[in-house]
């Protein structure tokens, strides 16, 4: 579900975009025909796949939503065992998913950008390469490992911080006391997700920052910019679209992350009082579906979970669209 991209190569025309185009450049020779067939076929395949996934989700979800006795968007219930009396809604899943991902983004994007700036602009050469590889390696760690590490190693270290928040800021609704006392909280999930998506943000940002033309950097320096001012005038504006698409890719992963979330977060008992607190437990779309995977025994029941999956699918689409709009709006200034 994390097929979210902000910009792609197709958005950034090469130095000469009046080059050979379409069939006028084709010579009609065998190699040309084979390659154009392969390329067109691959493109069509991707479009077909996305469409089929969407159609599947809609087809399976719509009957369940129609049978839903509660309001699908506003209900906090999730009672699907009695297939003649389905009661389910996504509001809690949506809240947990969005809030945990937002926390992850708020931490990972600034830190990732700073790490990328360090690697490309500040670190000595002998350090830049190993540091970059190390970050890439972090991206390759399977999410189950992050889950284990989060619950076994990081959780106990984080617990005092959470207790401190409860103690000092407990009066603030976002940090108020809830039925969850361990580390299975939305805040902790957000932090673990931040660590998981940090390498994605860093690796992609590093690529774009490293491509900042020397001419732009020298232009800023020659005006009497300090290093930081040079980065602000030349490197960051140049890297902006790349950073946005990096963030969107990372957000896609955070929204859809399943296994780490599933083993860390404390699911709430049905009927638990609603709380705005970040120190509450809860379930994301993905963890709710994964937790109940063994229960997909009737189409009606499965349909409820697929409906939840459909919302996640749409959510990533919306996020992607917003990112594209942001990038498009400044396009005239980036070519």
């Amino acid at each position: 579900m994390s097929t979210v991209t902000g910009v792609s190569v197709a958005d950034t025309p090469g130095p000469d975009d009046r080059g050979p185009q379409g069939d006028r450049a084709s010579t009609g020779r065998a190699g040309d025909r084979v390659f154009s067939g392969l390329a067109t076929g691959s493109g069509a395949l991707v479009i077909a796949l996305v469409t089929l996934v969407g159609v599947f989700l809609l087809w399976q979800a719509i009957p369940a939503i129609a049978d839903d006795k509660d309001n699908f968007f506003l209900s906090r219930a999730w009672d699907v065992n009695d297939t003649s009396n389905l009661r389910f809604g996504i509001v809690e899943l949506l809240w947990t998913t969005v809030v945990a991902s937002t926390i992850a983004m708020l931490i990972a994007v600034p830190v990732g950008v700073c790490v990328a700036l360090f690697i490309t602009q500040y670190s000595p050469r002998w350090l830049a390469r190993p540091a970059a590889s190390l970050v890439d390696l972090l991206a390759a760690v399977p999410s189950i490992i992050y889950g284990f590490w989060g619950i076994k190693t990081f959780g106990p270290k984080y617990q005092p911080f959470q207790d401190f928040l409860l103690d000092k800021l407990g009066w603030f609704p976002l940090f108020s006391k809830t039925s969850v006392s361990g580390t299975g909280t939305i805040l902790f999930i957000g932090i673990v997700l931040a660590i998981m998506i940090l390498p994605i943000v860093t690796a992609l940002s590093r690529e774009v920052f490293a491509q900042t033309p020397v001419a732009h950097k020298e232009g800023a320096l020659a005006l009497g910019a300090t290093k930081w001012e040079m980065i602000r005038t030349a490197v960051l504006p140049f890297g902006r679209p790349g950073v946005i698409s990096a963030a969107m890719l990372a957000l896609g992963r955070a929204l859809g992350e399943t296994i780490a979330v599933t083993i860390i977060v404390s699911a709430l008992a049905p009927g638990t009082k609603w709380s705005w607190s970040l120190l509450n437990g809860g379930e994301t779309f993905a963890s709710r579906i994964a937790n109940n995977a063994q229960e997909f025994d009737s189409p009606a029941k499965t349909g409820a979970f697929i409906a939840a999956g459909l919302v996640l699918f749409v959510l990533t689409f919306v996020v992607n669209a917003i990112a594209r709009i942001v990038i498009e709006r400044r396009k005239a200034f980036t070519e």
Binding site: A215, A220, G224, P237, A332, F333
Partner: protein, 258 residues
């Protein structure tokens, strides 16, 4: 506000490689000095020592002295950032900031200097664009991207950006080499106007250009690839092009080598 440049016995290094050796010259205020010479002779490298831009390249360093009036550019405690604010530079390829509007490009240096206030900025932007002979062409589209201008306009935009911070000296590294003849002429006219206010040093591969715009000309050469470049001769432009005192200079300007 234009200042005199006094260079004495300057060696320029990249790491352990000596790129330029033993340059001594004086550049008078409110004059244009042209550097000519074959590729790789170190004229651009030397130019970049005049505002400490060569230090941007890892391993770049100098030995010797560069005085701007009575300030030693390489004295201890001199901030290279401050040097670059007094010695402006225009590059070979026009390099307006692509994400900025025409207005913001010109205002960039001022903002770096902490100058705020729309009225002051408007005033300086207009003055600088007038100074770069660009105002009439862009006054109706100041908020459009600078990268949308033609190459010659972009280069004049870069000159406007450089003079907006009122430098003492303006360095130009082959400013016309990427431009067509008409844009080149526009820049050359501009150089002649700017010299009433600034000390200008220009590197050029175009000998006619050196003859047209400069008051004095310096010829650089190198003995062989891998050897350091040297200043062969510096004199009034008229003298260099009519009666140079070194044979190598005459060979170069008459096209017999290089």
């Amino acid at each position: 506000m234009a200042k005199r440049i006094d260079v004495s016995d300057l060696n320029v290094y990249y790491g352990s490689f000596k790129a330029v050796e033993g340059v001594t010259m004086t550049v008078e205020p409110r004059s244009v000095t042209a550097f000519i010479g074959p590729s790789g002779c170190g004229k651009s490298t030397f130019l970049r020592t005049l505002n400490r831009m060569h230090e941007v390249i890892p391993g770049g360093r100098v030995e010797g002295k560069v005085m701007l009036d009575d300030q030693d550019l390489y004295g201890s405690g001199v901030d290279p950032v401050a040097v670059r604010r007094t010695v402006g530079m225009v590059f070979q390829r026009p390099n307006p900031f692509p994400t900025m509007s025409i207005y913001d490009n010109v205002a960039a240096g001022l903002k770096l200097n902490g100058i705020k206030g729309k009225k002051k900025l408007d005033e300086v932007v207009e003055k600088s664009l007038h100074g770069a002979n660009l105002w009439n062409e862009v006054k109706d589209r100041l908020n459009k991207p600078g990268a949308g201008l033609s190459g010659g306009q972009q280069q004049r935009l870069c000159i406007a950006r450089a003079i907006a911070v009122e430098p003492q000296v303006l360095l130009m590294d082959e400013p016309c080499s990427a431009l067509d003849p008409i844009s080149t002429l526009a820049i050359e006219d501009l150089i002649s106007e700017l010299k009433s206010k600034y000390t200008i040093v220009i590197v050029t591969h175009n000998m006619q250009q050196a003859a047209r715009v400069s008051d004095q000309t310096a010829f650089f050469n190198l003995a062989a690839t891998g050897k350091p470049g040297k200043l062969i001769e510096i004199a009034d432009t008229q003298k260099i092009f009519s009666n140079p005192s070194v044979k190598a200079t005459e060979d170069y300007i008459s096209g017999r080598f290089g």
